[in-house]
Symmetry: C2
Amino acid sequence: MQNAVCGLAAWMSCALAAIVCSAPPALAQTLPGSGPARVQPAVEQWSIFELVLRGSTEGNPFDVQLSAKFTLGQRAIEARGFYDGQGVWRVRFMPPEPGVWTCQTSSDLPELSGRSGHVTCTKASTPGNHGPVVVRNTYHFAYADGTPFHPITTTLYGWVNQQSEALQEQTLASLRELPFNRIRMMVLPIAWSQDNVPRFFPFQQKEDQSWEFARFDPRFFQAIEKRLGQLRDMGIEAELILFHNRDGGRTGFDRMPESADDRYVRYVVARFSAYRNVWWSLANEFDAIRTKRDADWDRFFQIIQSEDPYGHLRSVHQMRRYYDFFKPWVTHLSVQSELGVTGFGRPVIYRQLSRKPVIFDEPKYEGDIPDGWGRLSGEEMVYRFWVATVGGTYAAHGETFASEPGVRWISRGGKLVGQSPQRIAFLKQILATAPAEGLTPIEPQEQTQGIAGQHGKYYLIYFGKSSPTEWTLQLPRGRARGGTRFRIDVLDTWNMTITPLDQVATIGEEPPLKITLPGKPYIALRIQRID
Amino acid sequence: MQNAVCGLAAWMSCALAAIVCSAPPALAQTLPGSGPARVQPAVEQWSIFELVLRGSTEGNPFDVQLSAKFTLGQRAIEARGFYDGQGVWRVRFMPPEPGVWTCQTSSDLPELSGRSGHVTCTKASTPGNHGPVVVRNTYHFAYADGTPFHPITTTLYGWVNQQSEALQEQTLASLRELPFNRIRMMVLPIAWSQDNVPRFFPFQQKEDQSWEFARFDPRFFQAIEKRLGQLRDMGIEAELILFHNRDGGRTGFDRMPESADDRYVRYVVARFSAYRNVWWSLANEFDAIRTKRDADWDRFFQIIQSEDPYGHLRSVHQMRRYYDFFKPWVTHLSVQSELGVTGFGRPVIYRQLSRKPVIFDEPKYEGDIPDGWGRLSGEEMVYRFWVATVGGTYAAHGETFASEPGVRWISRGGKLVGQSPQRIAFLKQILATAPAEGLTPIEPQEQTQGIAGQHGKYYLIYFGKSSPTEWTLQLPRGRARGGTRFRIDVLDTWNMTITPLDQVATIGEEPPLKITLPGKPYIALRIQRID
């Protein structure tokens, strides 16, 4: 994170951003500790520039309205500020474009208002900084700079609120070795045991232990921000799940008054939206949260859409009943379904009905717990990833082994012991060779195999649980110039081997090419145009 | 149809309804031809009572506002009237409940306003009169009297606007011999040849041949009503498709001004909604009608919801892009999809996403035309009906044989020559034995067969294109009392045979029952509890 202090000393310890932040001299004189404007190093595109302001904490400083308008030519971004405790307010800005942005604050606290300056933003140059992820080609994703993004997701609901910093560090260390480039995590704590009480909670507590919803505990959010920044720097997108009812009823955060809900959503958005790796998920199993109506979810979406100036991806995850995904603020589907990824052709239906990217964020998890949702074999977990892939959609991983003491990745993080992650890494490696447009399911959708690709360029054929020993390959005519030649690899998606064939496939060839296959399950063919 | 004339001679030729329709004496005196109130025979529940009124035709009589409020105890139904030409206005009322309903008209034409009387409605007694169809048990349908309704649909887009009355009569004669209990038909004419110009059009024409959208041609609608009544009396539901773009651009009815659209929708609803067999479909392939936005479709739905006092079923049919079926005015899905009914488990996804009844209204058609959508074999058409059925959904039939001169059932009606209808009749016969709650898909949804039923009562297992010679039947434990016994029939869905097995299946039996099957495709098992 990069800080800039408007006429004040740097408050945070990280590098300073390039800004001449000149408070109007008249006003500056009235501020304690205010001094001359300072020139700071440049801030990189899609990283965070932070304005730090001090003011009077009379009343409830969380009630202070503060925002800063950043302007570059015809483009203006209004970023909300937030109170971070200790008399300090911050406004974070993720510059989407290189150039010299001017900034101007407004606030109902006079000493925070009317501060102006400029921020020099340089072109993204840090390896892995491709900007935030956006929807691309209707059903797929890409970073803002155009680099394709194939979500390879794992589920880490409670990791960020674990009491043990060491466990959190272990989770990060695990992620460094794993293929995942997106994690799903709850903002609010999930159920905890006595030896794992969250260190912080989002709200301050009154003497009677009840929550003071109008006063946040900044430490709770700072701890999350630290992890968000680390994930970002590791190239991992963080889907932040704002509500859930998975704390065993302890906090009551799933049944706050409407005003507290809204205040919480606004605060989270003000704090986190400048992290380029943030995705918003309104809830885990929104339909299980009985205290909220659809109008509440609509309102949360609208608040986020209005207050997040970067338009980070937005969705909501269901248990059984789906939220109306036609609504314009839903950018993609975050589906819980086993059905959708256990038969070829099925994922395509979700695409057709929604015309949005589809992520099967809970297709059940690898593990051995008694609950049906957490006892998939590694093979089955990987199979579901592949069915999703050749359906032009995406799947998510989760792990729940009861047999490994203390390890329950989806809840706490730590280490993975399952067999699927390395195969998911293999899939990721294959996806890296796919066309930038993303994989489009190819008609007709048979029940025995799935085919996706881009006509005339690339085909991926997955045979799932069937074990063919031979496959007659007839590439579709009419979609590419006859005579176009393709090289073929046989992929063993479980044993992670890529076996190039001597044979070459040609559009329109007669008789069609017969390919010998290993007669095992989980085989795929990759067919790439020879240029 | 039953008429009543408020102090006037009966205008239509059918039987008169029971009504004492007493115009206020003072007003009655001012009306030409008004006389004493008359007592008429009773009108049957869910049939049509019609109020006939005469008035001045100065100005545009189609602009006259007219409605009648029918009241029975705490229940009131406001029915819109319409101008039917020749100085006659009508208000139609489908009494939903037996009893003596009072009625009172209001209008901006004084002589039509303030007429009052009462209508005696008797309990439905005509065989086949079960009332209008409503949604039942979330995913299914029933008549208002509770009788289950399994839609067995055929497509007859243009039949009602055929020039030849004889052809229309032939279509009706065909329908009398066919299993279909629901037809999909366009209100507006579809493309026609020179020898088949529609006799009437919905609007009057100006001298320059342009349409006078503010003046309807009642004959057009009277011709449709005649057919609607005949269908109703044959027990056939009529889905009226209000808009389409399938007339080759001849009429321009797909690109009328908004005011003309709305006026047309209101007029259609005022005329037709008292027919108990009416369903509303806003469009065939709404997304192909480029001149309308989603806001238009929303508005049409809202007009219908507001002006149809009986709440007839409402949907809209898509080509590719789906209308937001979460919207509250959509009662069920009317889907165009081949994908959805060509793999087990796929139809279930539409149910899960919508939580509404799903009808695959265009899964492609039986026929031999070059277009891909009209060249299914009979086997394939029937297969799709069964895949839909064991997915807890419904499919629709259509026929397009180019090889049979003059026969193009979906466009014109006439006679069917395909092989599917009698097999669809066989399916209908099987469905008649299904539980009244409807068929619920049973988990897990395998790729090799589909299972639906009601746990502990009834199971229907369909093997589709696979040809098993043996099947191990393990009825799910835990959903019904152990030891419950079931009788089994082997159904050959193509050859239309029902073969009862000597074996009896029992919940929880070990080893599970092995059933010998004929090793042919299109086999199903029907498993019914022995009470």
